[in-house]
Each structure stands twice: as structure tokens, then as C-alpha cells.
């Protein structure tokens, strides 16, 4: 284990955590509107998985996409400005929280029709195979997307044509307020869905960033080598509500359940690993907190001070000229 490596992973997760906590504050202040789906509790999956990729590999996500975008290395200023709907946002204010895109970083976007982006991921993989490039595509989605028809069609095509795509199911146990056991027939092992198409699949502790990265490194190697698609079920938990419009607990889950899950906070787990192995101390974490806090504060300042898009922007980019 390497000190710099582990602290870097911790910093990335901390950035997502503090960025999103600040986003929630900005939502309360009405600086951010619309839907805002927080990734808090699930950071280890994006950070661990993306750490195993090359910069030219493709990544795509659903609507809970801030974490993947930041883990891909997007500028927090531009991400926050997008949430604010500003002209300086990643998508010039036209995408919003659910539709972040950073094409130069091969972050191909967040998509908000459940299951609808999974065929797109097979398309990126198809294109790279067609052009004989050794790139992989990583597709993140919640377990709520797994029973959707489009997911099944994409799994079948990926397996049929041995496409270099890795499906990462972030199983946070609830599709909005409906628990997985009331939504998926094979809820005890969601990977069965992928296996039924002949796709190799494995479950991983999605709270353990090192476990996610270890599995991903192995999987990326075999997928890049042309062995066809793979499916990862990352077990996780969403600490906050589905979006800003529902509380962390209440209607569909108890405070006790959330408190219990919070004991396995991915940041706490990694911090404990670092401390136990004497690869860092409290001073290191304080320093990281300071650095990240400055980044997030600067992002808010940048977003707040940026202009809204001009009215003349309305019709720009409806079509490619």
C-alpha cells in the first residue's frame, strides 16, 4: 500500500462528499433548482472504478452523476456552475445536475431516463471495437435500471457481439422509495441477470474503494484484452434521500437502518485503513479537509459570480450547423 495513492483516493472521495454537501446547501438557498440527486455514501464506486481506467476510456452514468464526473477529473468550478445553470458550466447551463457531460475527459454524460443510457454504452464499446481501438467503456447505473427492457437489450447485444463494456450496477437497495426486493425478482443476486446472457459477473463491497479498484483492474484487463463484457454489482447505500425532495429516512426506511449503514461510510473505512497502516495521521486528513474545502468554496464562488447564459443562447446547439 502506498501512502500517496491512498491519500489521493481519499481526497477524491472527500471532494465528492464535500462538493455534494455544499450543493445541498446551495439547493436550500435556491442557487440550484430542479432535481438534485446526491451520491453521498456511494463515492467509493465512482472513485475506485474510474481509478482503474485510462483517460481515453469511456464512462457514462445515470442521473446521480456528480461523483462520476468529478472522479473523471472534471473541474469542480465548471460542475458547480452547471448546477447553478450558468454559462460557464460544463454544458453552458443547458444540461444541469442530471446531464453533466465532459467530452474531453470522455465522460459521456448523465442520463435521466432509467435504463436508457445503457444501450449508449454498448454503442461506445461497439465503436471502439469497430475501429480496433483497445478502449473500454464503463457504464454506471442503479439497481433500479436492471429490470428495465433497455438494460436487457443492451446486455444481450454486448454479450452477443463481445463488446468491451463493463456494466457497474450500484446497488443502493432502493429505486427511489421501492426496495430492491419489491422490484427485482432475483434481488438476492442481481448479477444473475447478466449471467443469464453469458456475461461474467461479480459482486463487490461498494463501500470499499480498494476492493472496487482491485476488481476493476482485473476486469478492465480482461475486457480490454477482448474477452467481452463484464457486470459488477457494487453493494452500497445512499445516505441521503433519493433527491432533495425526500428526507434520508421516513416513509420507506428507518433512521436506525440509515444509522447502521453510516457505520460503513466509505470515507471512514478508507481513513481507518490509512490510520491502521500508519500511512497517514489526523494532520494529513485535516490538511485534505482544508484543501478540499478551499476547492469547494472556490467552486461556489465561481458559479455564483458567473453569468447566466444570454437569451441569445436559447437556440444554439439544437442542431449541429
Amino acid at each position: 500500500m502506498d501512502r500517496a495513492d491512498l491519500l489521493s483516493l481519499f481526497r477524491q472521495m472527500l471532494l465528492i462528499r464535500r462538493f455534494e454537501e455544499k450543493s445541498a446547501e446551495m439547493y436550500a438557498l435556491a442557487k440550484i433548482a430542479g432535481f438534485l440527486h446526491l451520491y453521498i455514501g456511494e463515492e467509493a464506486i465512482a472513485v475506485g472504478a474510474i481509478a482503474a481506467l485510462r483517460p481515453d476510456d469511456y464512462a457514462i452514468s445515470a442521473y446521480r452523476d456528480h461523483g462520476h464526473c468529478l472522479a473523471r477529473g472534471s473541474d469542480p468550478d465548471q460542475v458547480m456552475a452547471e448546477l447553478f445553470g450558468k454559462a460557464t458550466g460544463l454544458c453552458r447551463g443547458k444540461g444541469g445536475s442530471m446531464h453533466l457531460v465532459d467530452a474531453p475527459r470522455r465522460f459521456m454524460g448523465g442520463y435521466a431516463i432509467v435504463g436508457g443510457h445503457i444501450p449508449l454504452a454498448t454503442g461506445f464499446a461497439f465503436a471502439t471495437k469497430y475501429r480496433a481501438l483497445d478502449l473500454v467503456t464503463v457504464c454506471f447505473f442503479g439497481e433500479g435500471a436492471v429490470p428495465s427492457g433497455q438494460a436487457h437489450e443492451a446486455f444481450n447485444l454486448a454479450a452477443l457481439w463481445k463488446l468491451p463494456v463493463i456494466f457497474i450496477c450500484e446497488n443502493n437497495r432502493y429505486g427511489m422509495g421501492t426496495p430492491v426486493e419489491r422490484a427485482i425478482a432475483l434481488y438476492e443476486d442481481v448479477s444473475e441477470t447478466a449471467r443469464s446472457y453469458g456475461i461474467g459477473a461479480e459482486r463487490v463491497d461498494g463501500m470499499d474503494v480498494l476492493a472496487v479498484r482491485d476488481l476493476m483492474r482485473r476486469v478492465v484487463g480482461q475486457v480490454r484484452a477482448g474477452q467481452g463484457p463484464f457486470f459488477i454489482e457494487a453493494m452500497t447505500y445512499r445516505f441521503m434521500g433519493h433527491s432533495m425532495s425526500d428526507p434520508a429516512h421516513g416513509h420507506y426506511r428507518t433512521k436506525e437502518e440509515v444509522d447502521e449503514q453510516r457505520k460503513r461510510d466509505p470515507l471512514t473505512l478508507l481513513k481507518q485503513t490509512i490510520l491502521n497502516n500508519k500511512l497517514g495521521d489526523e494532520a494529513d486528513f485535516k490538511q485534505l479537509e482544508r484543501e478540499v474545502s478551499e476547492v469547494v468554496t472556490a467552486a461556489v464562488k465561481f458559479a455564483d459570480e458567473s453569468p447566466f447564459p444570454a437569451p441569445s443562447e436559447l437556440y444554439n446547439d439544437v442542431l449541429v450547423e
Binding site: 454524460g109 444501450p119 454503442g123 461497439f126 465503436a127 433497455q150 437489450e153 439544437v318
Partner: protein
């Protein structure tokens, strides 16, 4: 040379695929079966199964895959066995293909053609006889083309493939066998440009796809009855070449719009609104629309005939706007 609409489409795709290796054809039965309507005859032999890709019967899946491939730098041509099956892929077309360029602030684009036959053929029943062009035209971010002749089909398909936007290219089963003159050499037809198919000064008919042929037949008969009708084929439905239509209406003062699709919220309603806004003072009579009836397509022949515009109804509509009984 004289060529069928089917052969013109085949030639357009073939020429483009020879020119650019990023272009591939994907859909049900496009390869070894040669296309359900034989549009891709000879393709798998020339381009191989890597570029002429047979799919399972999963329109949402393979349309989505093609959209993703377009985002990653390829230029897919998706063949829908019929446009009716596009309904199954509508989430991909409307929520992804049409919006990705805009939602990403111009970072991503979707250079893609989705083509296949729309409208009724002969007694195919309610699920296989629909004219859905108004659905696609309603969505910002899509271009929609519906050519009526082999010449237009070839020139417009070539440009559709070269376009960097998602283009819905609507053919018609009953047009595949129709023949027309197609130039020997390379040519393209610009998207968004209508053509006056028949010049006249008493009234204007706007019609596209299969209905254009009907409009020309009606105009021929009307000319024998002393009415000289101008017939305009928009060819591209979106973006619509309104100036050409308006110029004709300003000349004739009378307009009939013919479409096979359902009347309510049909494309003709939009064309009429646009013409009223642009040329109200030039109109000598209310615009007449001849449309499909607002029913699911019945199977029985007499009922099907009753549900689709025919020459008699077009002629009556022209006489109505001209005040001739």
C-alpha cells in the same frame, strides 16, 4: 437511367459506404436476408458483416447502440424494418438522439440516419400502417425527410448520411417499386429545400412521399377539367422550406395540403398555420386539408381505402378552394 426507389436508396448507401468507412448499416435482416424490402441487396457481400449488421429484434437496444456509436465517432445508418417499430425505439430517438447535442452544450453530436418505410401499404393492419412523421417533426433536434421519387431519395439519403445530426428518413413500402430517372453521376440534394413538381397558377397542392404521386395524378385530371394546379413536394419535412410554399400560395391564392397521417395534430395543421401567418392576405379561400382518417387502420380493404386519402378527395378539395363545384 431509369431506376426504382429501392435501387436508388441502395445506390446512395453504397456510394456513401464506399466513400467513408465510418458509415455502417445496422438493423433487422439488413445483412444476409438483404433487407426486409431488399434495400440492402448485395451489401453484406460487398462490405462484410462488420459493416452490415444483422440485429436481434430489439429496436430500442440497437437504435441506442447506434446512437452511442455515433457519439463515439461513427456514422450509423439504422434501418427500421418499418417506422412503426420506431415507436419501440422512441425513447432512444427522442430522449437521447435529439437532445444530446443540446444538453451537452454542443460537446457531443449524433450523426445518424434512421430510415425505413412509413405509411400504409396493402391491408397490413393497424400496427403496420402508420404515418408517424408528425411525431418526429414535433421534436427539436431531429431532421425529417420523406422523399417521393427515386431521384430525390438518392440525393437526399446521401446528404442525410453526410449530415451531422440525427435524421429520420421516411420511405414508403408502396414507393420501393416505383421507377424514375436518376442521374448517373454523383449528386446530392440539399436538406430543407422543397421542389415545385408541377407548375400551375390556379391552386397549390402541398404533398409528400406517397401522397405526392396522388397529388400529381389529381393535378393531371384537374388540368383536363381546366384547373391548372401547382404541386409542391417539401421533400424535407423538418426543416420545412416554407418560403417555397408561401411563394406559391402568394401566386395561386389557394392551398390544399395532402397527408396520409392522422388529421388531428397532423403535419398539415402546422403547414396551414405557418401559411396563414405568412400569407393570410393572399389567400382567396380557407386552406383545405386532405388527411388520413382519425382511426386505427382497419384491415378490410374497403375500410382501409376509406381511411386513406384518394384522388377523388384531393380533386374535391382543390375544387373547393377554387370555388368550383
Amino acid at each position: 437511367m431509369l431506376m426504382s426507389y429501392r435501387e436508388a436508396l441502395n445506390q446512395a448507401m453504397r456510394e456513401e459506404m464506399r466513400r467513408d468507412s465510418r458509415i455502417f448499416l445496422i438493423g433487422e435482416e439488413v445483412g444476409y436476408y438483404q433487407g426486409a424490402f431488399k434495400v440492402s441487396k448485395g451489401f453484406v457481400e460487398e462490405f462484410g458483416p462488420q459493416r452490415v449488421i444483422d440485429t436481434p429484434i430489439t429496436e430500442a437496444g440497437f437504435t441506442g447502440l447506434a446512437i452511442g456509436a455515433a457519439m463515439a465517432g461513427l456514422h450509423p445508418v439504422v434501418e427500421l424494418m418499418t417506422m412503426n417499430f420506431g415507436i419501440v425505439a422512441l425513447d432512444q430517438i427522442v430522449n437521447n438522439a435529439a437532445k444530446i447535442h443540446y444538453m451537452s452544450g454542443g460537446q457531443l453530436s449524433v450523426p445518424l440516419v434512421i430510415r425505413g418505410p412509413g405509411s400504409a401499404a396493402h391491408q397490413l393492419g393497424a400496427q403496420h400502417s402508420q404515418s408517424l412523421e408528425a411525431w418526429f417533426c414535433h421534436v427539436p433536434g431531429l431532421k425529417v425527410i420523406a422523399p417521393s421519387t427515386p431521384y430525390d431519395a438518392k440525393g437526399l439519403l446521401k446528404n442525410a448520411i453526410r449530415d451531422n445530426n440525427p435524421v429520420i428518413f421516411i420511405e414508403a413500402q408502396l414507393l420501393y417499386g416505383t421507377k424514375g430517372e436518376v442521374g448517373d453521376g454523383e449528386y446530392t440534394i440539399p436538406i430543407g429545400v422543397a421542389e415545385v413538381k408541377r407548375a400551375g397558377h390556379d391552386a397549390t397542392i402541398v404533398a409528400y412521399s406517397k401522397m405526392l404521386l396522388l397529388a400529381l395524378e389529381a393535378a393531371d385530371q384537374l388540368s383536363r377539367e381546366g384547373l391548372d394546379v401547382e404541386v409542391i413536394d417539401p421533400r424535407t419535412l423538418k426543416p420545412l422550406d416554407l418560403p417555397t410554399i408561401v411563394a406559391s400560395v402568394k401566386k395561386t391564392g389557394r392551398l390544399v395540403i395532402v397527408e396520409e397521417g392522422w388529421r388531428f395534430c397532423g403535419l398539415g395543421a402546422q403547414i396551414a398555420e405557418s401559411v396563414y401567418a405568412a400569407a393570410f392576405d393572399f389567400l382567396d379561400a380557407p386552406i383545405q386539408r386532405v388527411t388520413g382518417e382519425d382511426v386505427p387502420m382497419p384491415y378490410s380493404r374497403p375500410l382501409e381505402d376509406a381511411a386513406i386519402p384518394d384522388k377523388t378527395r384531393v380533386i374535391e378539395a382543390v375544387k373547393t378552394v377554387c370555388g368550383v363545384r
